[in-house]
Amino acid sequence: MSDVGGKELRIIGFLCNWCSYGGADAAGVGRFSQPTDLRIIRMPCTGRVDPLFVLKALVSGADGVLVSGCHPRDCHYSEGNYYARRRLEVLKRLLPMLGIHEDRFHYTWVSASEGARWQQVVTRFTERIHELGPMDSLDPELAVCAIRELGGENGQADQPAPASGE
């Protein structure tokens, strides 16, 4: 789902309060220029990021989701990001099975002092989402198209498929 102007895509960022949010702030204070597609949601810790937040965002119209927290061994709560790492890795490997390109989701670690690294992460991730293009919509009427794509009801298997996650 693209933005009103048509140039921007919707990217959701779940950032931990202690490291990556600080890192994003440092990038702002340092006046590093960044793409503006990212909408940031501040979390207490990446351990708070339920993988379902990411899935909910993707099915609700986000074109990409970024999760960023403290580097391993640096978690403010000691071990939140260790749990997050396991969950998010499982999630990342689930996405292709759902037909969603795994590159639409990325998790990484950025500390509060790494403003320059934050700029790099945002820029590269936004570029990648732009390469993938907007996410397929899940509007109900499109399900009917999907049935046709599979050659279901009317056997129109040769119909061009709408731009997908690939």
Partner: protein, 320 residues
């Protein structure tokens, strides 16, 4: 002594110390055996065991917390029980497990496709075939053609955790490698992303949001409130759109990641036949690959998403 007599005898002895025993009874026809609560000695006469005992009785354990319960399990059901024990949902001391070696359960949908039967009056099993009497005609079919898919690739026909094991353990039908090779999974893996996306959209479009998959699952039991029913936070709207239905299956799959024992109840319970077990099979393969873990085998193990390692061997940090 037949297996059933032996089972009844074991239950007869244990029943005085128990509130109830979960088993199966004869159904409205010979192909169905609904779940059954045995509370008194005389209830035992209705108890049956065989390939028509499809239900995973472990689904009821969550609702019987605080009671002293006996449960009859097949190999796959026992894995669900083990998972419940691992998560401390049920207490081992208040549970008596009667394990039955299992040679597979029937898939009634397959029988209906293979044979033109109405009301199955009698069912007999003779080495490798099933003979069904419906009305006044008797027809037969190879058992392997009408067993549930999960049974054809079953690697755990014998319970790993039990108090009473009835009869002799049976040989697993396939090796662990063969169990992992699944034609339906391979078909899905062979699709490209567009096709897979369309595959799920098509299937999810048929979903009725009846939640039979959730209700039949022995491990899908958010204790306070299910996300699908919660109004605050409002995870799911009441719309019948593909988005909402698919989102629910994502919730179901993610909540079972690293916990699902692949008993197949979700898919069996689905009234419109959506292959939702595929998502769980895939996640199980992911969990096996990442953490070398299989759910429901070792009661003392911790499910992989309930724990962590400081250095993960199989998770590589990916730079953009």
């Amino acid at each position: 002594m037949s297996q059933l007599t032996e089972l009844k005898e074991a239950i007869r002895k244990a029943l005085p110390d128990l509130d109830l025993v979960l088993g199966w009874r004869e159904g409205y026809d010979a192909l169905h055996a609904p779940p059954y609560h045995i509370r008194r000695q005389e209830d035992l006469e209705h108890l049956v065991f065989g390939p028509m005992c499809v239900n995973n009785l472990a689904s009821q354990l969550m609702h019987l917390r605080g009671k002293k319960v006996g449960i009859i399990v097949k190999g796959c059901d026992a894995r669900s029980v083990v998972e419940l024990l691992q998560e401390k949902i049920v207490n081992r001391e208040s549970l008596v497990i009667f394990a039955m070696p299992c040679k597979g359960v029937l898939d009634v949908k397959k029988i209906r496709r293979a044979l033109d039967i109405d009301h199955a009056r009698e069912v007999h099993f003779h080495n490798g075939t099933i003979e069904i009497t419906s009305g006044d005609k008797t027809s037969s079919v190879e058992l392997k053609d009408v067993l549930a898919d999960k049974c054809l690739r079953c690697h755990y026909p014998n319970a790993t955790e039990y108090d009473h094991f009835i009869g002799e353990p049976v040989e697993p039908r396939v090796s662990a490698e063969e169990a992992a090779a699944d034609p339906a999974m391979e078909e899905l893996a062979g699709m490209d992303l567009t096709e897979r996306f369309a595959f799920w959209k098509t299937h999810m479009n048929r979903c009725l949001r009846c939640y039979a998959c959730r209700n039949s699952c022995p491990l899908c039991f958010c204790r306070d409130v299910c996300l699908a029913d919660s109004r605050d936070p409002h995870w799911q709207s009441q719309e019948t759109s593909v988005r909402e239905k698919w989102m629910f299956q994502m919730i179901h799959a993610m909540h079972l990641a690293g916990r699902c024992t692949q008993c197949g109840e979700c898919e069996r319970a689905c009234p419109v036949g959506i292959p939702i077990l595929l998502l769980k099979k895939h996640l199980n393969a992911v969990v096996k690959d990442l953490f070398n873990y299989e759910a429901g085998i070792d009661p003392t193990a911790t499910p992989p998403l309930f724990t962590f390692k400081v250095e993960e061997e199989n998770i590589k940090e990916i730079e953009l």
